[in-house]
Symmetry: C2
């Protein structure tokens, strides 16, 4: 799933690009894939009735998808139906896999997800020093990708692409990390540094976390704001099931929304940004704790044990989140706000003041705030699933590549 | 242009709705209309080469559009070209017209715009008392619509639909005004109260103002934030050429973004909202002026004359706008911010502090802020053009209606 290129003005529903038979066929191939995937096990006739095409048209599409290894025939359907029993179809458990990777501040992770959405292989490396040159980090990541791909291949899978989640701003080319302050990376072209032989996409971890929420949790609405944190605070705006990327690809910088305009100076150039009140370093400082390893776990443990200073710091962070989210909710009118990543782990102590602040500043019912069930797994899963989605949304790319 | 209904979860590119020949034909009819409209005067062959379809296919589409009165034949093209001269086509100056209406706090306005985008008829009524029951206002508006439609009909036009811009929140049914504080309207169903015999859409004035900016000014990018004011402050978020409406249709409430979280109480339930610093009443109060008629004109006159108190009030309003926009820009990453409506009139005195505040809070180059050339005409024009766009984007609706 490559980010769409920035389109020149003007386009729109009537823009002059031809709508061809070929385009229609590709979209119908996608409809067949999504329909079979959603229901798990379907006959050709059932697919035809679900998507409103003739049985003959669907059979032609299915034959192609079977030939490409994207669908498999499970044998005759259970008897007892009228007419000749059709063969049931399912999405293949072999064939293409999405490879997801995550570059965290203190870990690297890679996983392979098949077309059915199951994680088939996974590897994690913990690393100690935060600021490391991109070269060695990406060498280590390349090795990890090769290990996971090797494991997946022994199960009959092949890598359809690699998506990498990074804690920073990614250019709209979906390859260049423009700025990742917590890695101390600037203008790093992952396309040149990752030695992998498959299509590559790089994206912001908050964006991939939001997509995971959208794709993997049925309770997630199609319009929501996903707020997450590792060290910084990031957000992702999902509108009608699509990520809002922004002109430069930088949308979702909730951490730099001014909360108290005369507050402390922030590295972004601003003052009193949300990150100065609810960012990890600010919360650790207010808690009287030293930055170190497993910082979020430490805060959660202390808060669970009833440490008054930590609890008070998290309450204040929740209030600041509530102020920033009031602005975001007024601007975007999302159906809900989802707390993910480290914020999900700390939610029990952030939510009361956060919700109170939102309610206090809203005349009607306040926007609901929920907690991600995926937590810190979101970005890695979202990355891998974005590759899988790319295949489901346009299965013909597989034929072009093989 | 009706707001899309709120779609049930889940949909997406592969959702099971059939992609039919009929749908393809409708989209290609739209491509022909947009192509001819963009270039003004084109032969069938030129249209075919622009949109990548065969000349035979385009001829069939064109014949239909001519029969429906949407395109007209201008006679043979100028000679000197190779081959038999083709007849040049143009968008019809008769046929369907978009009717736009605006319910302002102290005026009602209606206009008719033809498919070429020209205003063909217009009427305005100034009204004095701000809070009036919806019934009499809508009776007066109905009469004004009939007058404008009557004038348009004498020129061979017929009304394809009516779009009404209101200074308030509109439900996603695009008919019900949920809340218009400055009219003192709550839950008013315009569908039942406007006695007009044509498709009706109701929308927020800031949204229509943003669409006018997008459609009528070539300099406008496809990703921008439009900020406008009559009495309240509203904004509209345009992403990739489409309006972001929000779950309930309430997106764009920039006026209630907290600027100073402990500031004065606001009617929305919040504290220190932007409207408390940059709203018309706040600025009039800080200027030592009484609310009255033509309030924006009064502020602009006094500021132009060098009134220090008015200038200082506008500078402070610009600063508050800069703080709220810093948050919005961080969240949305738009290509630009456009000031429209009353803010366009006051821009000379708002912009210096607004731009300084944005720059002060941004590490890199700050988001550019420009001033609308349409100013207070934006919402009315945007409403009328939204109906015209509806015809251009799906010309077949005309055949279904006539």
């Amino acid at each position: 799933m490559t980010a769409p290129p920035h389109r020149a003005h003007p386009a729109g529903p009537g823009r002059p690009s031809p709508d061809t038979q070929q385009g229609m066929r590709r979209r119908n191939l996608a409809r067949v894939m999504h329909t079979v995937r959603a229901e798990g096990r379907l006959s050709r006739a059932a697919v035809a009735s679900r998507i409103g095409l003739t049985r003959a048209a669907v059979s032609t599409l299915v034959d192609e998808l079977v030939r490409w290894g994207l669908l498999e025939e499970l044998g005759p359907e259970r008897p007892g139906r009228v007419g000749r029993p059709g063969s049931a179809l399912a999405v293949s458990s072999r064939g293409p896999a999405g490879i997801g990777a995550e570059i965290g501040v203190d870990h690297l992770a890679v996983c392979a997800v098949d077309l059915r959405g199951r994680v088939r292989s996974r590897a994690v490396r913990h690393v100690r020093d935060r600021a490391r040159a991109a070269g060695p980090v990406l060498e280590q990541l390349t090795a990890l990708v090769r290990q996971v791909v090797g494991e997946a291949e022994t199960e009959g899978l092949w890598p359809a692409g690699l998506a990498v989640a990074v804690p920073g701003l990614v250019a709209r080319d979906a390859l260049t990390v423009v700025r990742a302050p917590n890695l101390d990376w600037h203008d790093i072209d992952l396309g040149g540094l990752l030695a992998v032989d498959m299509p590559l996409t790089v994206g912001n971890e908050a964006n991939f976390g939001a997509l995971a929420e959208l794709w993997l949790d049925d309770r997630t609405p199609r319009d929501f704001l996903h707020v997450s944190a590792e060290i910084g605070i990031g957000a992702a705006v999902v509108v009608d099931g699509r990520l809002l990327r922004g002109t430069r690809g930088f949308a979702g910088e909730l951490g730099h929304v001014p909360v108290r305009p005369d507050g402390p100076a922030c590295a972004c150039g601003g003052r009193g940004c949300l990150e100065q009140y609810a960012g990890e370093e600010a919360v650790l400082r207010a808690s009287g704790l030293e930055p170190g390893e497993n910082r979020v776990g430490l805060l959660a443990d202390r808060a669970a044990q009833g440490d008054a200073r930590v609890r008070s710091a998290l309450t204040d962070a929740g209030t600041a989140l509530g102020i920033a989210l009031t602005g975001a909710v007024n601007l975007l009118d999302p159906e809900s706000v989802v707390l993910g990543g480290a914020l999900a782990e700390l939610a029990p102590w952030l939510l009361p003041s956060l919700r109170a602040e939102l309610a206090r500043r809203t005349a009607g019912p306040a926007c609901p705030v929920t907690v991600s069930a995926l937590g810190p797994q979101g970005p890695l899963l979202g990355a891998a699933h974005s590759v899988v989605r790319g295949v489901l949304d346009d299965p013909a790319v597989v034929a072009e590549r093989t």
